[in-house]
Amino acid sequence: MEEAAVITPSKTKLKIALAGNPNSGKSTFFNNLTGLNQKVGNYPGVTVDKKTGTCFFENGSGKITAEIIDLPGAYSVKSKSEDERIAAEVISNHKNKDHPDVIVYVADASNLKRALFYCTQLIDLGKPVVLVLNMIDIAQEKGIKIDFEKLSEELGTPVVSTNARKNIGTEKVLSAIGSIDPAKNIFLNGTENGNAIYLRYKKIDEILQKCVSKSPIEKPDFTKKLDAVFTHKIWGFAIFLGVLLLIFQAIFSLSEYPMQWIESSFILLNDFISNQLPEGALTDLLTNGILAGLSGVLVFIPQIALLFFFIAILEDTGYMARVSFITDKIMRKFGLNGRSVVPLISGVACAVPAIMSARTIGNRKERLITIMITPLMTCSARLPVYILLISLVIPNQKFLGFFTLQGIVLMGMYLLGFVAVFGAAFVFKFVLKSKERSYFIMEMPTYKMPRWKNIGLTILEKIKVFTYDVGKVIIAISIVLWALASYGPGDSFEQIEKKYNNPEVAYSHSPEILANKMASEKLEASYAGVFGKAIEPIIKPLGFDWKIGIALITSFAAREVFVGTMATIYSIGDADDTLSIRQKMMAEINPETGGKVYSLAVGLSLMVFYAFAMQCMSTLAVVFRETKHWKWPLIQLVYMTALAYLSSLLAFQFLK
């Protein structure tokens, strides 16, 4: 039988699955085991995140390489949410690619009863289990004493205590894995109907009575005191708004310097390459195509890192659960659920993981509405666009020392997204029909200090995804765009060159001015210019010219491509390489009016367009995966684009 071969001295490769309730410290334990050797992927066919990692250890008979799979947190093997189903499927199906040799079950030692419910269900699935009693220090502080040996004897599994936060006990777990008894072990037979839940808990109660003693220590309860403030009818909401305001202000002011460093290093690099390499199409592609596009995107890494940093803190400390709690009733009025808060706030970072996190909403209608409206939240990809445009059209005024006018406009853009979210949700509430029941049964985790290592790893992972996945798309688009903007149909480019080589024109202005004029005329005659001009009649009522038109087309792939596109267009259309895109765009003159192209009306209209338009292929793809139907991403694309066009039209016509 397969089970008998679980651990033999010759076995050097091992698959270990980490299972447990949410909030049991499972991910901290996973990080302790794997460190930086981890990756996030997908389970085939579903959208649940699959975290795997590698860990090396010795078990006396030799070195073992263990593949660790961090299963989604669950309370029961009985399928309810997709997450819980996956965990049960991986463990019970022998043919599953990730089927483990050993299960390491991480339990919150101060909440042992509920932890053992799921744990004993897993034991009954027939795999060897190592029970890890995590957060043992907190349990001890609460006066809970656990007899490990007795518990191990009763359950028939090794029991090890750890404090994952301080990385104490990880070694003990590994040696327990190395010496596990592969024999099958059954805790309770029977089906999981209502009565079986009761019987299982009854048996757990009997065991706990033998192994656990509790001497109640009355301590001032930190969590209750904080809850009195964070869920207070006035303070609760005021603090929530304050936290959001603080985050946005911090992102804007803290990222200023690192952004300038990145910007100036790219200008230096660009200069260096232009001077060192021979002039020609390849150098041009490298500097004006790839580097220009890349710098436009990499410059936003400081902001994205900060944003994910704050969201991770809100989640990790347990504050996000309180926000769900105080907002559930309001959310319900809009056809949403208190749990929609997590996707919505994560939507401020990126709609893709946000939409995936909507899986915790059990009710289909509430989940669908959350998915449909989350992309209206101001995601980090819009941030580069907003920051560029705000710095162009909004004066940099300060008041009250800390608040800047630019920061307030940015906050306004976030609020605009927020209002749109609820407006759209309200409409969907009446359009979509459902008779299914809605739930809000969830654990309120105790408040904890953020685990900086976990947060650090999260940020690292997000930046990696952003730089590689987004960077790839942007480089590809930059190259295509460079080609489209550097070549034109027929002999249009030769005509322009001929015109400027004509001695009469050649001596009329200084060489610099002439070079700029020729470059911008060439851009207008290029393929990109032709495309931009073709859609100009449609976007002109919104105040956009053909250059913005090019950016609108390219940023359908992803919003932040706007900045890269602008960078490429303005590098090609401008011979001077020492100015940043910001300065180049600021200097752009509208030939019809003689004023600046980026006036207040155009800037705001463009920002409104980016606030509402569905310009993200990855989001559409993830919506398809989550809803399993093309209908939903299609509806989303149409309603958001229509909303964007109309609002932008209104904004421009009103402001111009």
């Binding site: 309370y75 509920r114 839940i197 809850d227 009733k329 809000f440 654990e443 309120m444 105790t446």
Partner: protein, 77 residues
């Protein structure tokens, strides 16, 4: 002391009680998996600022649920 039965949703913040039974199958299963079993002591810790949902403490931890869900749980005061 008088013993009276009522629904979990009818408790006031700070009230303690013992779970008696459930009036609805689907919700009861969910609640029981989370440790809300007949015979278990329960305390209503907090009511959300807008009157709904609630936070109860049960078997050593805190659980939030809506009033409508709590209205399917019969408790003994």
């Amino acid at each position: 002391m008088s013993i009276s039965t009522c629904f979990l949703s009818e408790l006031k913040a700070g009230d303690s009680a013992v779970i008696e039974s459930f009036s609805e199958n689907e919700i009861s299963e969910k609640l029981m998996e989370m440790g809300c079993l007949p015979g278990e002591a329960v305390k209503l810790e907090r009511i959300a600022p807008l009157g709904d949902p609630l936070i109860i403490s049960i078997s050593g931890y805190e659980l939030s649920l809506r009033k409508a869900e709590a209205a399917t749980v019969l408790v003994k005061k």
